[in-house]
Symmetry: none
């Protein structure tokens, strides 16, 4: 019965593919795009280079696969609204979610690499920006929309305020981390988040 064999083969093949993407992500993040080597990736994934090339036609194709895999995890903004939450409570949770997605998934390191490839692979960079940049702000915007609907924020252009909020968070937390791989979230993150929220509410808060 070839079916069973086929299924088995496909399963093995997919596992190898996953192992490759995994090994590739680690290598790209550690050594950068140019620094990562196909041989080492293959070795780390317990696969021959030839097999690697069966799955991904080129280094760039492999890199695209890694980016897409990471970008897929955008952060979950559902269930942010608990019954007795204040405006600040909800904004705080939204900020935390935003930052978690940015820091926990190596998204910073990935952004660095993607940016570096802008001259060489503009399409990839644009797509990644859409995934890692725009999409996250859209999620944030959805939260803002809900808050406006509930009268928690003054009515305004939420697309704009979401970017403003994102910009403030990036400046305080993300930007430094882009230039230093050892910088994570600082110990006084909470306090800083609240100062950011102060700003946000000074602009977009309801007027009472």
């Amino acid at each position: 019965m070839p079916t069973g064999t086929d299924t088995h083969r496909r399963k093995v093949s997919e596992m190898k593919r996953a192992a490759i993407v995994d090994a590739a992500r680690k290598n790209f993040l550690t050594h950068g795009y140019a620094g990562a080597g196909m041989a080492e990736i293959a070795h780390d994934a317990d696969v021959s280079t030839a097999t690697l090339y069966k799955h991904f036609a080129s280094k760039e194709a492999l890199f695209v696969a890694v980016v897409k895999q990471v970008a897929r995890s955008a952060g979950d903004y559902s269930g942010l609204f608990a019954p007795n939450d204040t405006v600040r409570d909800i904004l705080y949770k939204a900020c935390r979610t935003y930052l978690a997605a940015q820091f926990e998934q190596d998204a910073n390191a990935l952004m660095r690499i993607v940016m570096a490839e802008v001259p060489g692979a503009p399409q990839l960079a644009r797509e990644t920006y859409a995934e890692l940049g725009t999409r996250r702000i859209d999620s944030f915007k959805a939260v803002v929309d809900q808050m406006i609907a509930r009268g928690m924020l003054r009515p305004h252009d939420s697309a704009f305020s979401a970017r403003i909020g994102s910009g403030i968070l990036k400046e305080i937390f993300v930007w430094p981390a882009l230039f230093d791989k050892e910088i994570g979230l600082p110990p006084d993150t909470d306090e800083k988040i609240h100062r950011c929220i102060d700003c946000f509410m000074a602009i977009f808060g309801s007027e009472d």
Copy 2:
């Protein structure tokens, strides 16, 4: 009289050095750090590779020189205060100066490359962040301080507000440009700047 000869030689040598840095900047910006080739840089500068290496001991040293040269042009924030300027006028000019420094000198492209080198050359990245990141915000902060002193802005922590302002501008203008080398300042830049100023003044404006 060796002086004449020496002076001449030095002058020629310095011109070659400048030509090398120039060619290097173009190459790095076009192809990225790894993509740029010393041979091509030397060729573009009309110099042999050996001469190139007399001036810069390694590819990295050359890159550092390029970064420093670009960073040197941090933007001139003096003479921002004209007699009858409103708060908004001054902030507008400050924003324009900030954005000019960021866009006119290829600073965006350079930032991309430096970020890409974070894993491989952390020290360089940190120094560049200090030059291209922190220093620009400091200039901005000095403007804010003056405005506070003149009662144009509510008294507050100017170090913080300078970062907030910088963060907002980056999000709206810089961030997209980091992911797309063809993105410069948009046609409706003025309008966008004014929306940013609205935000800034909502937070830090004097309360009248």
Copy 3:
């Protein structure tokens, strides 16, 4: 059955390795260490430079391999004692064996190169001296020990006499060859050997 493939691959690979060492020996001997080029070695071995570097991680590693290969042929001193041989017969055969190992395997040329690398690679030089210098004398000493046991030579410190014998042979035959690559064993080698034996027996011969 991967075994067949593996075996075949290994066989091919080993042949290439041998070809590389061979080509390398010729190049090193002809042009010296610094003068030999990896590209030419690869070409002579019908192999790409990349393959060469798969087998030997560096020029130095390749040179070490060459030295070890040559050193392996230390000369065979067994079967020197025939029933009716006189003392002189046996010493003559030992001298011939010693000189054969020194001249037939390019050991002289190799010694030259190794010596030249003394400042740059002291460890290698020391090891080579152990292989090409000490070990050969040890073999000679074993022969002397047997001759003493049979009463053919006066009892004495064989470690010392072996060095004396080796020193005399080196002076007469090896030393000139070290300074002139075209000098091999001279036509009157036999006569010279016997004069050396005269000296040796004058010192260490039994007194009858």
Copy 4:
């Protein structure tokens, strides 16, 4: 008066030449022929590379000059015969003189380098062998001749015995030093010399 100036100029020029040869010797001995760099030699001699090339047309020519300079100091065997000296006393002094010339003037290191250049510069090697090898043995032979004339040694072919003596000394003292730049004369040099003399006298001593 140009004469004074000319004389002065020539004097300066000769001093520079000497400085160059000196710096060259140090560099060659330290780094080997290939390892030594013309730029560094010029720097060490406080001279420009162009001046260096005015004095010596090429690296090889400079090396030849160094070899000749060192070879010129062959050791002084005159005044070896004191009134009441025994045979052994005189031979001891001759050995000491021989070894001093070999070890004190970096002759070992120079020999290493010359040998390395045998394939590339055969003529130089042959000449050096004549200077550093043959000539020293000739001096030794002269001493032997005198000893024969005085009845201190059995009449024999002194050209041969000088080589035998030289060979024994080389084996014991020089050979190891050729493979290890840190090896000088050992602490028990005297004892070893006397064992060598024992051998020599067993062969060539007068029979009383």
